[in-house]
Symmetry: C2
Subunit: 200 residues, 2 copies
């Protein structure tokens, strides 16, 4: 298909498609003339992935890093997960991570395979709650830890075994793209539970 | 305390404290002279709440709406939750919410107390996944629905009964401020589970 058809198919303005081409996010089509190129279904899917990442708040530079990891995946899915988390995590200041480590340990974290950045992000989130004078009691925290562990277990168990490419795509995109859905589901669940509890 | 002490206590620059005063986010202190006012512990806590909201990506205007709801709470906690969710949800285009409604129903949602905005946000998150060619199978979706329901149940059950003010604060701030922590915990849990499964 032509670039105009690609843009229409993926519901992205042509100027934006050209921008992604220039930025190296989207691989070029097959040249069929001096100013013409042919695109195929793989370009549509790639464009969809770019849009989804960018709509999720990932910057162009970070989306490029995620997609580069999809194109040239490291030998190990765990390394891919670290690359993706790193790319999509804002750099945070160094911070005391003692409380974060304590929570991580309750989920089975050990120092052998540590990711200081992930712990620092959690530490900052905990500090924000602290600064706002918001306390999460131990029972609620246990529920959070248990819930995210169940989620992560289902996600890791669900990594497709059909092909290495499918697995890479699933790990790289899933971790980031599921976040807005998860937050939307939690807010709905809060409304449902509040209705159940407080409705006359 | 003086404004300089308030700023130091809450670890916020004085200029920013003055900005929050001008914007009506922070109530003024008690006047003790032409250019002097006294602040107290309630100002420190309020400042902490403002910072936490803004650090969580809430705009100044939306933080004002959340804090206004805390100051003049509606008669019903459920209405407060709706106000807070509304204030901190970016306005999204109208979209077909059939799939979102289907998921909401699985969590016990009924039309009697519907929040079209919450459903639209979920519908957009689902569409992003769709556009990226990312499919969540039914088993994984059940895990997500179950996990957020457990979370919401614990959160609503944990609403403090000590005072109406505490309850309002908990509902208004908790729903928004817990989000970054929840996402950080999920990412850590993914790394832990991936390590467990793939480490040699």
């Amino acid at each position: 298909m032509r670039i105009s058809e690609l843009a229409a198919e993926a519901d992205v303005p042509i100027a934006t498609v050209k921008y992604y081409l220039r930025e190296g996010l989207l691989p070029g089509g097959e040249r069929t003339g001096a100013t013409r190129a042919e695109y195929d279904a793989s370009h549509v899917q790639r464009l969809g992935a770019i849009r989804a990442l960018i709509d999720s708040g990932v910057s162009v530079a970070d989306a490029r890093a995620v997609l580069a990891a999809v194109d040239m995946p490291p030998g190990h899915l765990l390394d891919l997960l670290h690359i993706v988390h790193d790319a999509t995590t804002p750099t945070v200041d160094a911070i005391d991570t003692a409380k974060a480590e304590q929570l991580a340990r309750r989920m089975g974290w050990t120092e052998e395979r540590s990711d200081p950045q992930a712990l620092a992000v959690l530490a900052h989130a905990l500090r924000r709650l602290d600064v706002a004078g918001f306390t999460i009691d131990d029972a609620a925290m246990s529920t959070y830890l248990d819930a995210v562990t169940r989620i992560a277990r289902a996600e890791i168990a669900g990594i497709p075994t059909t092909s290495a490419e499918d697995a890479v795509r699933y790990v790289a995109l899933g971790s980031v793209l599921v976040e807005p859905m998860l937050l939307a589901l939690r807010r709905l669940a809060e409304q449902i539970e509040a209705t159940r509890r407080f409705s006359p």
